[in-house]
Symmetry: C2
């Protein structure tokens, strides 16, 4: 694909079905992307910039580190402001500085502004492309502005235009569709929709979702403490942020921290990031198996227990991680608060008992098959699982809430910590009951 003819590459990409361009481009490493985009930009910098939308932000940032900053700026300029901020945030300081120097001053300002807002706030996902007018502007002024922005208009919010007063404060939102067939000279303020609520940039996105659920508008003005309009936020941006959040926590739960891993990233980066999860896991897992070493005499007499230890531990972990998954989900959609520990435990207890009974019976039956000279083994295994199931399901339900209350990320920590606890619980219960029942 690193053909020496940029025009041919551009023609090829334009002719492909849109659904196939993304997978093709995303399969390339930053080292392959940089020369390709250089070729594409030589032909048509705008078309090259448009193709960037197919790449994840991490790919774009990695590629920009390999391109001259002028070209980087040319590629970033046509982007939507919220997407551009996401990419700028991923650049290292010198590259970002270089790129920003070649971009218009207001881009630099928007970047500075965007940095102020916390990651999961409305300010972090707002878009600055909107039509804003003084409150005494007329329909004719609007039409002139639309013409001026024609090339970029698809990036602008055009369902509403926003008016500001003489002090620059947000005055109101005017639905564009009310302006059809109106007199060019009438002021826009005559059609303000007074029902449109404003939101602040500091509003967390979970609460922003509550606001959108509450109103019929799909795009809202974002107004700062001084009453100035700083941008607009629409449901698409919100859903996109929620999606990225969900994907990030899904990866975290699989042991991939620090955002997305792309297999096209350098091996050492990928390896170190994965080890960052594995090495603490060694400590946790070693702590759990230390319980086993305490009961070596029991194991010496009933070696068969060595096979049942991981079985009971795995299945305790499974039932506990179900409770973890439901609690993480309920926290994510604001269905419960981090203070609902008591309620969650009451709702998990019967599940733990049910699973303990059913799975415990199955395990008892399986141990009967292998029991040999220990007729009490089924009671030990079934009983240990039943107790362990109840304990881990309660811990699993509560742990994400406790972590959240400590300001820690449940998606990242709940599952490994729970698995350690459930392993230790299961090992202890099997060996303790075995000592007491079989040898006592």
């Amino acid at each position: 694909i690193t053909a020496d003819d940029g025009r041919r590459a551009l023609a090829l990409l334009s002719a492909m079905p849109p659904g196939q361009v993304g997978p093709l481009l995303r399969g390339l490493t930053p080292g392959q992307l940089a020369p390709l985009w250089r070729l594409l930009a030589e032909q048509n910098v705008r078309a090259a910039a448009d193709l960037l939308d197919h790449l994840p932000d991490g790919h774009i940032a990695a590629m920009l580190h390999l391109l001259p900053s002028l070209l980087g700026a040319q590629l970033l300029e046509p982007m939507e402001s919220d997407d551009r901020i996401d990419v700028l945030a991923l650049l290292d300081e010198p590259t970002r500085h270089g790129v920003l120097q070649h971009l218009p001053a207001e881009v630099s300002e928007t970047w500075q502004l965007g940095r102020q807002y916390p990651v999961e706030s409305t300010g972090a996902i707002l878009k600055s492309e909107r039509l804003a007018f003084s409150e005494d502007a007329t329909v004719a002024d609007l039409v002139a502005a639309l013409k001026r922005n024609d090339a970029q208009i698809e990036h602008y919010e055009t369902r509403y235009l926003y008016l500001f007063d003489q002090k620059g404060r947000h005055f109101g939102a005017v639905p564009l569709h009310r302006l059809l067939l109106q007199d060019a000279q009438r002021p826009l303020r005559d059609w303000v929709d007074s029902g449109v609520p404003t939101v602040t940039p500091a509003l967390p996105i979970a609460e922003l979702k509550g606001v959108f659920d509450h109103v019929r508008y799909s795009v809202l003005p974002v107004v700062d403490d001084e009453g100035r309009l700083v941008g607009v936020v629409d449901q698409q941006d919100l859903q996109e942020a929620l999606y990225e959040e969900a994907e990030k926590s899904s990866l975290e739960r699989g042991g991939i921290f620090g955002g997305e891993e792309m297999r096209s990233m350098p091996l050492l980066t990928r390896g170190l990031r994965r080890l960052a999860f594995l090495l603490p896991s060694v400590v946790l897992s070693y702590a759990a198996v230390s319980v086993i070493a305490l009961y070596e005499p029991v194991l010496e007499q009933v070696v068969l227990l060595a096979a049942f230890l991981p079985l009971v531990a795995n299945l305790s972990g499974a039932v506990g991680n179900q409770a973890v998954a439901v609690s993480i989900r309920e926290l994510a959609v604001d269905r419960i608060g981090s203070d609902a520990v008591g309620r969650v435990m009451r709702q998990e207890l019967p599940i733990g008992l049910l699973a303990g009974l059913v799975v415990g019976l199955v395990l008892a039956a399986l141990s009967l098959l292998r029991g040999g000279d220990h007729p009490e083994l089924p009671w030990v295994i079934g009983g240990a699982y039943a107790l362990s199931s109840v304990v881990t399901v309660l811990l699993g339900g509560a742990l994400p809430l406790w972590l959240r209350r400590l300001g820690l990320d449940p998606a990242m920590l709940a599952s490994p910590v729970l698995t350690t606890l459930s392993d230790a619980t299961a090992f202890f219960l099997v060996l303790f009951l075995a000592q007491w029942w079989l040898l006592g």
Copy 2:
């Protein structure tokens, strides 16, 4: 909250900050929601319907089963068509039939139409509220239609209007902002934007994302095989679908199948759904530990191995599940196809070697502490982990692709199957090497 005064409840809910209404309502069970909504609807059915947006679809459906079908219809009618279809899909047949009877005929038709499209296709997320006109309609006709739909206009797509020809086929899309200050009598077709592409209802949503990445338009017309406009789809709907998909697979990976679990659901339903994951896990886990039983003589001589079996198995599972998480993510965003097994394995192999070396050394050191009379134990444990890490990381990377190729859901199956394979691999390698090295 089940106050006897509906008006008070409605006033209370309207006065609350929007971000708090959702968590409050979502904490209620369907049995508590039904009488509350009955009270709210008595006061103001439209306001009651608006509040439904705060509830997940499953809650709304559960509540509708407890309400008279006329009231159910009144609550569903003001919803956006795509959201309404999601709720209708969750109702049991008699309730749905009852509700549909009280709804306008076109809702019933849209429901029938929506059913035809596969779950993850564009047809399943399209919205039928759009402004559609014959190609010879004029600006004045549009203004009249906007007035007619005024109460519902926030649900309508108003960035574009859509023209159809005499045979009812899609003719083109007109950006509303081009119509300002235009003559009332001029036909709308004069301002068709010929760049707006159409999509088909059968297009999978992963490919729809590719199309949106390729164009600057944020809303696209959906046209069927006969060329008729069946609805519009915007990026918000797409992002919402992607988010729900991500949440569903995140829950599945935690062992919660069959969509979302709400702790307000009946206990038996929750219990059975969780057992549906646990019972197959018993089989898988039992299969893995059967390897241990084969090596009882080895264990009898080196009981200490009982503690290292779960340790090596857990850490093999951890490194394998990292590869699973990355592959699932890369499949989900179409970064790789299910035929990329060879490439994925080549990119995972060095990670497996690195993790095997580093974690293997740590485990060898830990076993040295406990080794006692078996100086070769560190070699057995470290060596078993190094080999197991390589095997499971390759399996973990490839398994989601193999499952996808078989038409199975990687999010649901990859992790439990991988854990079984990594357990069995780890158990076998530790015990085999122990037999060979310590006792050989």
